[in-house]
């Protein structure tokens, strides 16, 4: 079919070389949510990966060819989308590739289907899977010219960051929250990586604060969501990451809490019986409270809790308590009274019990599952009442319990467009690199030898890509930028040199063989080897040497990395090897480090002056003023933080339980 002339606008704006590069590119989009849908539309409309394979063939030549083990395949133009999620009603106000009839279907498949309608000739490959899966190994990532992160959680962002560093593929990281957004281009050895700036970790509450001495609404909400709810409806061995035993907890009290939880399991067995609600209520709001109250030393400077009795409260409600609770549950913006909360609790216990007994043995808390939210809101409020803490409406509790981040169509559209703009800049620089010189060895792409210093002519970092900030709530500074910053020399994630370790599937190669290979190839003196599970070899640990390497590879869930650390006095940077088990190719060694040439620079000294003297790693861009830039960035981060705070109804303590950090802006 004579296809429309889609080039006119693109060709005139981008020019021929870049248009060609865009059309023959193969890109990965991780996440098909708010930003993901918009990025996909942009990619499709801008012609990414639209070149039919038949006309193609140039690009394959640039693929890594250092080893016989790396298959030299022409890179097929196209867009690959990975998303684990299914579609929810609350997505439809912004994730425009989805309609009501798509609810509960996989986002990746529906996104592909809808986007393909625009142009059936685009090459979209959809994966309904987790990006942590083993199939998405370093080689998989090496198959792309560019990766877009459109994720909603810290763990996946960090994982893709690491995979892109290992594969030496540029990454465009993005996120939104409310009216704010951020885009960051990342390239190994050229820019900061996602982990160069530490992210605040999720705050874990001391177990005793949650279970014995709550003083804030959030403590009661966490108790209801992460303790009571899973004990009643979840898997029994549920342990939550936001509550942990800390130094502040007394061992004695922790032991008693275990007994308490055990007793609750007995109550759980009453589920379905008419007295279930009463049993639960009296257990957690009377018996447990009385036990706490009896520990007088705990209440010397605190007001002791006041226990409640189910019978006494219920007698004061002059209605069918479950029906009454059902009606109240729809009024989620009013703060329920003590009795109202009891009614809603009874109603939610009733609904959840029958769900649990009709084919849903395990129910997980989900902020968008109204039954579970009703339970958590009413139980949290009742506990707040017991401890003399102000009550809140279900609407407010939802935000605190679910770490809800406001999300709107406009911010996603803006952020996604900015992502693609940065993609153009990076691809332009790739196009130039392709014309000018051969791609430098992937593993030599270290901070001390950036491309620009090698060719001796200053060129903007990544084709002039920037860190871009969106704040459409403001008017004066809606879209602003900051120059990209060189990698942090001591970043544990991007300062190592990444390489691959190919292990034949049927080999008997042992750890000993690897140690010998590394000594010979890298010239190590003393060194250690670490896997996800811990240290497996160091100069004093030789027990594992006879173990077969394939054991380590198969023990790891997902993708396995092995870190080699130089233990000498003047250490080189770490070497991170991604292990690949391969079916045997004839004539190849059973154990191979790829590439053959590995040159590890020395680890940077601790003293900052020395870092400053390293030649060639300064960003050649004249506009970059590191101090001003850092200040700007801090301001922008504060903006983002501020927005999060605002999003959390102004409750600073709630902010701390948010599992994500500053540039981990979220939109589910």
């Amino acid at each position: 079919m004579q296809r429309r002339d889609r080039d006119s606008g693109i060709l005139q704006s981008l020019g021929k070389p870049l248009t060609k590069r865009v059309k023959e590119s193969r890109v990965l989009l991780v996440g098909a949510g708010g930003i993901g849908c918009e990025v996909l539309k942009n990619l499709v409309c801008c012609g990414f990966g639209t070149l039919p394979q038949a006309q193609h063939g140039l690009n394959g030549a640039t693929a890594e060819t250092q080893s016989g083990h790396t298959a030299v395949m022409p890179r097929q133009p196209g867009i690959v989308v990975i998303d684990l999620d299914t579609i929810d009603l609350s997505n439809l106000n912004r994730q425009f590739l989805f309609r009501k009839q798509h609810i509960k279907k996989p986002k990746a498949f529906v996104a592909k289907e809808t986007a393909s309608q625009f142009n059936p000739s685009v090459n979209i490959e959809a994966h309904h899977a987790s990006v942590f899966d083993r199939q998405y190994n370093v080689e998989f990532f090496e198959g792309f010219d560019l990766v877009f992160n459109a994720l909603d959680n810290l763990a996946a962002r960090r994982h893709v960051n690491k995979m892109c560093l290992a594969a030496d593929v540029p990454l465009i990281e993005s996120g939104t929250t409310g009216f704010n957004g951020q885009v960051q281009a990342i390239k190994k050895g050229v820019t900061e990586c996602y982990d160069c700036n530490p992210k605040p970790v999720q705050k874990s509450f001391p177990i005793c604060t949650i279970r014995s001495t709550p003083s804030q609404p959030i403590h009661c909400i966490v108790w209801a969501r992460s303790y009571l709810f899973p004990e009643l409806f979840g898997t029994s061995e549920e342990d939550s990451t936001d509550v942990g035993v800390t130094e502040a907890d007394s061992a004695e009290e922790v032991a008693k809490l275990k007994v308490e939880a055990e007793a609750l399991k007995n109550v759980r067995r009453m589920m379905g019986k008419s007295e279930f609600a009463q049993e639960v209520f009296d257990k957690v709001f009377h018996d447990d409270i009385e036990r706490l109250r009896s520990m007088s030393e705990m209440w010397q400077s605190r007001k002791p809790p006041q226990s409640l009795r189910y019978d006494a409260l219920k007698a004061e409600i002059d209605a069918d308590i479950i029906k009454h609770g059902q009606a109240l549950a729809t009024r989620d913006q009013t703060t329920w009274s003590l009795h109202d909360n009891l009614a809603v609790l009874c109603y939610s216990l009733d609904v959840l019990s029958s769900r649990a007994q009709t084919g849903e043995p395990v129910i997980e808390f989900d902020k968008d599952d109204k039954d579970t939210l009703d339970f958590v809101a009413s139980a949290a409020n009742l506990r707040s009442h017991v401890f003399g803490i102000p009550l809140h409406s279900e609407w407010e509790i939802k935000q605190m319990a679910g770490n809800i981040i406001p999300a709107i169509a406009t911010s996603n559209a803006l952020t996604a467009s900015l992502c693609v703009m940065e993609a153009f800049k990076i691809m332009r620089s790739q196009a130039q690199a392709q014309n000018g010189l051969s791609k430098p060895n992937a593993n030599n792409n270290h901070p001390t030898t950036t491309q620009s210093s090698m060719i001796g002519k200053p060129e903007p970092t990544l084709g002039g890509a920037k860190m871009v900030f969106l704040n459409s709530r403001s008017t004066e500074r809606m879209v602003t930028t900051q120059g990209l910053v060189p990698p942090r020399p001591d970043c544990p994630v991007c300062s190592p040199v990444y390489a691959k370790l190919a292990v034949s599937a049927n080999t008997n190669a042992t750890l000993q063989d690897l140690v010998l290979l590394l000594q010979q190839r890298v010239g190590y003196d003393e060194f250690s080897i670490t896997t996800d599970a811990g240290v497996i070899y160091d100069p004093d640990l030789e027990d594992n040497l006879p173990k077969q390497l394939t054991e380590y590879a198969s023990a790891a869930q997902g993708n396995s990395f092995v870190t080699v650390t130089d233990e000498s006095d003047l250490p080189k940077v770490d070497l991170v090897l991604s292990m690949m088990v391969q079916s045997t190719t004839d004539g190849a060694d059973s154990l191979q480090v790829i590439p053959e040439q590995i040159s590890l620079p020395l680890k940077p000294q601790k003293a900052p002056e020395v870092d400053g003297d390293l030649d060639g790693d300064a960003d050649p861009e004249p506009v970059l003023l590191p101090n001003a830039g850092a200040k700007r960035k801090r301001d922008a981060e504060e903006e983002v933080e501020g927005a999060k705070k605002r999003a959390k109804a102004g409750k600073a303590e709630v902010l701390e339980v948010d599992d994500d950090g500053v540039i981990t802006l979220d939109d589910d």
Binding site: F118, G388, A413
Partner: protein
């Protein structure tokens, strides 16, 4: 404490639950009132070219649930459209572009009504009162400048907010026409900036409560538990009394005094959490209750002074608040109390003290509003709602007023004049970060369109020729650059200033570079820039229709090469 269950009213009368769930993530930003305003909006998109910025804008408004939208476009779908417009499909070929786009946009949200008008713009505009049904107009460039002028003139008469936008290559911009008085009550200021506890001007009920809570503190008669639960507001008030005794009745005002005062507070207890909270609050909470100059300016505006039977509610309330301010030397109390360490019962008491004072203040303002209504014989149908007065009082310290101004339209044979903005814009010319160069380049681009197009129905007429779209883009570049440089020179002359070399040469060079980029794109859009512009415009539309947040006033440009926006007031 026997409590019979209260009658349960129907769930949120404005937003039924399923809808609430779908719009949950946005309701947390603009609330039910913003959502209702959005749903009462009818947007008209006037689209004459193949660009998709308008469609992308609509997409971002259909998703959050705008009430109605209409696309006015007489073109028929061509192959080229299929290549750029995500909201068209192969089967759309040969059908009306407006109708097809409306159909596919409506698929995004069954709650939204879309309409298509396929009548040619030049006849459509000749009908009487043709824009009356719409609450907001979007006009996409390129457009016949005489028609654009007619749209703007009618929109001004009807006070309909109007956006005019461009998207060419890596660049885009939009101009906004808002009514001459566009007040915003709900500006969503930073919550940390809004806490107003009146600690320097406490009223009797608050002092009484403070005495109850802090009685015996100095004598050491309070038990540990009571002491640890004195709300920090009371602590500060308590120590302020002490301070006044030691300082001739004066309050801590300067930074040094406040720091000194903080030491006094700290001396009360070195460890307790509520003392920590009190110390942390000293610098930001001890503010005199005086409004900013911009708020006073609004309260004193002629609209608030000269009221009549049709004066909008905002100005009636502003008049009453001004009256309140003259009387009490402070604005009505907002009434919110931040979270703090306290016994639940005390916290609720404290909340009630602030709430009832806020209610009293609002009631006083309301009484004055009613008196005004009577004095001007205002019809009861137009009576100001109590809730509106309450809202105004809550946000009084952060109200904002936009004085909407018409945007400049380049007409064939007419010189571009900047009028009272000439001096300010000439200043912009010398600012390295300003995007005035882009503004002028787009103005020159429009001038080229105005001088090279003639209505299609005239003999030899060539509808809307944009620079760079023909064979000879170098000639077009030269022409547009010439126009842009003339605009620069006239602006400098109009402002009565002088810009000398090398600055003058540099700014002309900058303008030339923008022009070159615009002409090189030949009127073609880059999809992601159109999408971004659609996001920016939609965001501003939401601000305008919800009357929340502070909108752009009145031009915003986007430079894709630098990935940044800039705003100008013209």
């Amino acid at each position: 404490m026997a409590t019979a269950p209260q009658d349960v009213p129907p769930p949120l009368k404005d937003i039924p639950t399923a809808k609430e769930k779908k719009y949950d993530r946005q309701l947390r930003l603009w609330g039910a009132s913003g959502q209702v305003a959005l749903e009462e909006t009818h947007i008209l998109l006037v689209n004459s070219g193949p660009g998709v910025t308008g469609v992308e804008t609509l997409k971002n408004l259909v998703l959050p649930g705008v009430g109605h939208f209409t696309i006015l476009d007489s073109a028929v779908v061509s192959e080229a459209d299929l290549g750029v417009n995500f909201f068209l499909e192969d089967a759309s070929l040969g059908k009306f572009r407006a109708a097809e786009t409306v159909r596919l946009l409506m698929e995004l949200n069954p709650g939204v009504e879309g309409h298509a008008i396929t009548e040619p713009l030049e006849t459509f505009i000749t009908q009487d009162n043709v824009f009356a049904p719409y609450s907001l107009i979007l006009a996409a460039a390129p457009i016949d400048p005489t028609i654009l002028a007619q749209i703007q003139s009618q929109a001004r008469t009807l006070q309909i907010p109007t956006f005019y936008f461009h998207c060419v290559g890596y660049f885009s911009c939009f101009s906004v026409l808002l009514p001459p008085a566009f007040p915003i009550v709900d500006t969503h200021p930073d919550p940390t900036a809004t806490t107003d506890l009146r600690l320097l001007a406490p009223w009797p009920a608050l002092m009484q409560f403070t005495k109850e809570k802090t009685g015996g503190l100095e004598e050491g008669k309070l038990n540990a538990q009571d002491k640890a639960h004195i709300p920090w507001v009371c602590l500060l008030l308590h120590y302020l009394e002490q301070w006044k005794e030691q300082h001739d009745g004066k309050l801590p005002a300067s930074y040094a005094e406040k720091t000194e005062f903080r030491k006094l507070v700290r001396s009360g207890d070195p460890h307790e959490e509520n003392w920590d909270e009190a110390c942390a609050a000293v610098l930001k909470s001890l503010n005199p209750p005086t409004p900013s100059s911009s708020v006073r300016e609004i309260l004193e505006a002629p609209e608030a002074r000269d009221i009549n039977t049709t004066t909008p509610a905002f100005w009636l309330i502003a008049n009453a608040v001004q009256h309140f301010y003259t009387e009490h030397k402070q604005l009505p109390l907002p009434g919110a109390v931040p979270d703090m360490k306290a016994q639940s019962a005390d916290y609720i008491k404290l909340q009630n003290i602030y709430k009832s004072k806020a209610r009293e203040d609002a009631a006083e303002v309301l009484a004055h509003v009613r008196k005004l209504e009577q004095s001007i014989d205002r019809s009861p149908d137009l009576a100001v709602e109590d809730k509106e007065v309450e809202n105004f009082c809550k946000g009084a310290a952060h109200i904002h007023l936009v004085r909407g101004r018409p945007f400049q339209i380049a007409q064939a044979g007419e010189a571009i004049m900047f009028g009272d903005r000439a001096k300010a814009m000439a200043m912009e010319l010398t600012m390295p970060e300003s995007l005035i160069g882009l503004y002028i380049a787009f103005l020159a681009w429009d001038t080229f369109v105005a001088t090279h197009s003639s209505p299609a129905h005239e003999a030899g007429g060539q509808a809307l020729k944009v620079p760079g779209s023909g064979e000879d883009w170098e000639a077009d570049t030269e022409k547009v650059t010439g126009i842009a440089h003339t605009v620069v020179d006239n602006l400098i002359k109009e402002a009565g200033t002088l810009i000398e070399d090398p600055e003058y040469a540099e700014l002309k060079q900058k303008v030339s570079e923008f022009v070159q980029e615009l002409v090189r794109a030949g009127g073609g859009e880059l999809h992601n820039i159109a999408s971004l512009t659609g996001g920016l415009v939609a965001q501003e539309v939401i601000k305008a229709v919800t009357r929340q947040y502070v909108p752009v006033d009145n031009w915003c440009g986007f430079d894709g090469v630098g990935s940044r926006t800039g705003v100008l007031r013209l």
